[in-house]
């Protein structure tokens, strides 16, 4: 089994456990407020990390290439409340045009 499939199965099992814990363990105490707060704040940190590493990291090094300007364009489009398709297409177009020019 490829790593992607192994990761898929383990992640699916773990995710299901998280989803079903509440409904199947009903009657237990709810999550403590502190844990619940951290759980809702975590995505901000992780998503930001994913943004920056998918933009500026390659093979364990920091690399600045066409992805960074593309990200900036995506940011502007998001700020202008463009629909998701436009944001993604704008980023792709920016990277493509920059690579064409160089």
């Amino acid at each position: 089994m490829s790593p992607a499939v192994v990761a898929l199965l383990v992640l699916a099992a773990g995710t299901y456990a998280l989803k079903a814990a509440g409904p199947l363990l009903l009657g237990q105490r709810p999550m403590s407020p502190a844990v619940e707060r951290v759980a809702t704040l975590l995505p901000a940190a992780l998503l930001a990390a994913l943004v920056i590493t998918s933009t500026a990291a390659s093979d364990g090094r920091i690399v600045l290439d066409a992805r960074m300007p593309a990200l900036l364009v995506a940011g502007v489009l998001l700020w202008l409340r463009a629909p998701f398709l436009v944001v993604v297409a704008g980023a792709a177009a920016t990277a493509a045009l920059l690579r064409l020019a160089w």
């Binding site: 989803k19 009903l26 951290v38 943004v51």
Partner: protein, 266 residues
Amino acid sequence: MSGSGDLRVRASGSELEGGENRVRASGSELEGGENRVSTRTDGSVQQRRALIGRALSLSAAVAPFGVAFGVICTQAGLSPWVALGYSSLVFTGSAQLAAVAVLGDGGTVAAAVISGLLLNLRCLAFGLVMAPSFPPSLWRRALASQLMIDESTAVALSTDERRLRWFGYLVGGIGIFVSWNLSTLAGATLVPSAGTLVTDLGIDATIPAAFLALLWPRLQAPLERAIAIAGAVIALALVPLLPAGLPIIAAGLSVPLVLLAQRATR
């Protein structure tokens, strides 16, 4: 799931207790209300239509994300079956994207799985809030739990009545499931992967853009903005020092760091 729906779900004890009280009140209305069936049915038909409407618009909203995920899988060399496997079995957009991104970058399975699970911790909170609205049957609870995502919970919580919450959860969950998987399939099969086509067309730049779109709603709140910035800084600083995937997990430390800093500066 996409993260963009965003809801602030509070699973604190007091809100669960308050919910139970409301359920008891509507229970007596059900028992005593047989002669008022027609008015109650009219009202709830309207409410059900509203819930279906919300579910449909959310389902449409996630479709572009699903296509993006399918494309990203193809670009990472994964078959459409694997892409579909993620979208049906994991069924949470941000975790799926994270896992595939970590693996594509050469990260370990463990790093990919942990990143995904950290992003999915909020599903635990959703389950605790939704549990009182679920029917008593254990196998129905087990089956329905697979649909425990941002959008299904959001639709459910847009109403206060327990039976309508269950209805909202189901239409939201099923609607998103269908839309998400169909769009994943479309993205995975309609976009070629080989050669320099991906970089020529800038498709690799769609990944950061997709993550940014998922992050964007959370940047509105100052606390989450600070957490996001701190997380990005930590992750970037650790890229040359740690194997792929670990910087992302380490970025989670920004949450306790920022919370502590906030308390310290009060």
